[in-house]
Symmetry: C2
Subunit: 282 residues, 2 copies
């Protein structure tokens, strides 16, 4: 998995090499190559591999997904949004550079994700099919809607149902699409399974975050802990407590495993990456 | 021309109707439908018409271009960027709503421009060709590069050559691509003429802005005048004076006219829209 992450990082660097020198390029490189889990690109590649597909021709799609994820983090951290100083253990983009550069770097990464897919050596019909699903997931009815709802409930109590809706859009959409696109490329009729796995995984991931915000170590997380409490934010932990939240995470992973076994794929590969996610400490 | 603007506005509204209700949609609608010149979509449509093409099948491309332009204005106006309070005679997006909503509305418009073209009923090869050129122009080697350079020279003297480079990217790229795309759709070999016209027009437009910033009436402009002087910003007017700047604008329009007459098109239509731009008071 580490070698695959390195391969993704090398390809991200290669894609950045076409960008004109300047502060925005520096900021894009700083945030995109920050030490990270590369969860979404890895899921995309693992699903391709589970279908016995050679992923190399599609590496740029993995990179485009990571660009979209990184742009959303940069903008999320801005003073006008969550106003965070730390991300992945390092100063956030606007702290390391400045606010204007961070705004432009985010815009530039979203735009570069589009250029990246357009420039690929794959069939134009496939490009259009991939982009149609990807930019539905990242757009104003997907990830951006989740961010809007997240902000709306910043200082307001949210119900479990509302939290689930926020996470579904804010985190689930991009994780789900990473797996859906691999099935689309492999021309497999497993779309609904990956959709379900993606959204369950996204929710589990988010509840883990809520738990780590309370019990995690700042050093390992690379960001401030206890910030949800400081912000009077409703989370699974504030609504259910830690024990029930942990149960919910295990239940969601159980659903994922069941869906994985409903498909004719290399199950071992997918279980491998799910286990890494389940056991994460940051 | 007014009827065409109305048609563009109606189509923009229609494209927004698929967006989930919420503050971000309100902000997108507020900024996208603000009274504006619709210069880029009009140029796109006029060039199509000058080729005797029916523009109706391509109206969504005109709308996508306007979405990109509007997103760049929303982000440009943010406190972390130019910190402007007025735009098109009304409070800027972050003043009318809030900063977080303005950031997300800008992101959402860039993303929606992608969805809009992908959803069109035209050939996938044409979609890919159009998007490839469009998102090169709007991206980090095009418009965003211009914004970065503009910020870099905020409190620093720029030479005429440097100003020209800024305007070329910041304003010229999106104006040029509006006309290039029409030639691409019409399958005409006039690409280099429209490129030249686009960049000359972009520069003329920007110098007009500099002049209006000094001699314009705040009410007509719909934004604060004298802000370049307040910001100690180098402009054509500070470097050349008003008279020489006006001469430069006329010279650039002269170039445009000559390039227009080098092509086998309906010249009258293009002259009509160029004249409107040349005589603008806001």
């Amino acid at each position: 998995m580490d070698q695959l992450k390195e391969e993704i990082n090398q390809q991200l660097l290669k894609l950045l090499s076409s960008v004109k020198e300047g502060k925005v390029k520096e900021a894009m490189t700083y945030s995109l190559l920050a030490p990270g889990k590369r969860l979404r690109p890895l899921l995309f590649i693992y699903v391709l591999k589970a279908y016995q597909m050679d992923y190399h021709a599609y590496l740029d799609i993995a990179c485009a997904i990571e660009m979209i994820h990184t742009y959303s983090l940069i903008h999320d951290d801005l003073p006008g949004m969550d106003n965070d100083d730390l991300r992945r253990g390092r100063p956030t983009c606007h702290k390391q550079f400045d606010e204007a550069t961070a705004i432009l770097a985010g815009d530039a990464l979203l735009n570069l994700s589009v250029n990246t897919i357009l420039n690929m050596s794959i069939d134009n019909d496939l490009k259009v099919a991939i982009m149609t699903r990807l930019y539905e997931a990242s757009g104003v009815n997907g990830m951006i809607y989740g961010q809007q709802q997240d902000l709306a409930f910043e200082n307001q109590n949210a119900s479990l149902q509302q939290l689930q809706d926020i996470h579904h859009h804010k985190t689930g959409e991009l994780i789900a699409v990473s797996m859906q696109l691999a099935a689309l490329i492999a021309k497999k009729d497993d779309y609904q399974y990956w959709t379900q796995i993606g959204f369950d995984l996204g929710l589990a991931f988010q509840i883990q975050d809520d738990i780590l915000d309370v019990v995690g170590e700042e050093e390992k997380l690379g960001k401030k802990v206890g910030s949800d409490l400081d912000n009077h934010k409703s989370t699974y932990v504030t609504l259910l407590g830690i024990e029930e939240s942990q149960k919910k995470v295990e239940e969601l992973f159980q659903n994922c495993y069941e869906n994985v076994y409903s498909m004719r794929i290399n199950h071992g590969l997918i279980l491998q990456i799910l286990t890494v996610i389940l056991k994460r400490v940051n």
